[in-house]
């Protein structure tokens, strides 16, 4: 790949999508912005001859993680209108400096233009991803399995219904939720 316009355009789009994700006031739009950032990163990975990583990024990060975020947003209670307006005003005040900071840091980095003397080892030692994944980095797979198991057990424990003092398993019913809402209102 030569230094081309498409690569630069994708990098600029990635940064813009990331900043929009951070700056937008609506949480749902923020989650969608994150998905867009993932899609642009996937395109960059495809452009860098990393199709397997690109497919993973596209399916898992742009798909699954966006679903997780939207589920969390829908499971949590939104703020009241007055609270939301006050929160938005406070948020705008706090995040108005981000674009300025990005421009300043970008200008400084461009002026310094970091000259990196990269020691380039002979390329093509291992070209097949499957070879590297299954033979060279075999221990990583064991780590991945352990991490997935830890995550599964963690989520099971987080959402387990705990028994109360009488030894009965307490489950949240619709009646409980109604009572809680009425108690909150009063």
């Amino acid at each position: 790949m030569i230094f081309d316009i498409l690569y630069l355009s994708l990098l600029i789009l990635l940064l813009l999508a990331g900043v929009w994700t951070v700056m937008t006031l609506n949480l749902l739009k923020s989650a969608i912005g994150l998905a867009v950032t993932s899609v642009i990163l996937s395109l960059l990975l495809f452009r860098m001859d990393a199709p397997l990583a690109g497919v993973f990024e596209l399916s898992v990060c742009a798909g699954l993680i966006t679903v997780v975020f939207i589920s969390v947003i829908s499971l949590t209670k939104p703020l009241a209108a007055a609270e939301a307006r006050a929160r938005d005003r406070s948020r705008v005040k706090r995040f108005i400096f981000l674009p300025i900071l990005i421009v300043i840091v970008g200008a400084v980095l461009y002026a310094l233009r970091p000259h990196l003397d990269l020691p380039l080892p002979p390329a093509g030692l291992e070209t097949d991803v499957r070879q590297v994944l299954w033979n060279v980095r075999r221990l990583d797979l064991v780590g991945q399995i352990l991490i997935i198991l830890a995550g599964v057990f963690g989520i099971v424990i987080l959402f387990k219904d705990r028994p109360d003092t009488k030894g009965e398993i307490r489950r949240t019913t619709d009646k409980d939720r109604t009572d809680t809402k009425e108690g909150t209102k009063s």
Partner: protein, 106 residues
């Protein structure tokens, strides 16, 4: 005069640093727990791009792809567990504001 490879790398690194700055700003200045998770996601995206760029420049793209796949697996598990904790905290405190999480305050 810099080689095209070095121009490619240094340009990429500048954008990666800028994305990481935006993500860190989001983590540091947000009060909403979900937004903090979104900032963490953005930071991981910057790291993913850095690994891919380093792999591309050094010619070890296969190894870089393996690392990225491992990173994505870890990222999914971290986000799933953190989302569970966020839902639990919201049910307990009736709020997603980090300032309400004072249960462990000494």
């Amino acid at each position: 005069m810099m080689l095209p490879v070095q121009v490619l790398f240094s340009t990429g690194v500048i954008f990666i640093i800028l994305l990481a700055v935006a993500a860190l700003y989001c983590i540091l200045f947000s009060r909403n727990l979900i937004r903090i998770l979104i900032g963490l996601e953005l930071l991981i995206k910057a790291v993913t791009l850095l690994i891919a760029l380093a792999g591309y420049i050094t010619g070890h793209m296969a190894l870089a792809q393996t690392m990225i796949i491992t990173l994505i697996v870890i990222e999914v598990v971290v986000i799933a567990v953190a989302a569970g904790i966020v839902i639990g905290a919201q049910r307990h405190n009736q709020s997603l504001d980090v300032r309400t999480l004072r249960n462990l305050k000494g």
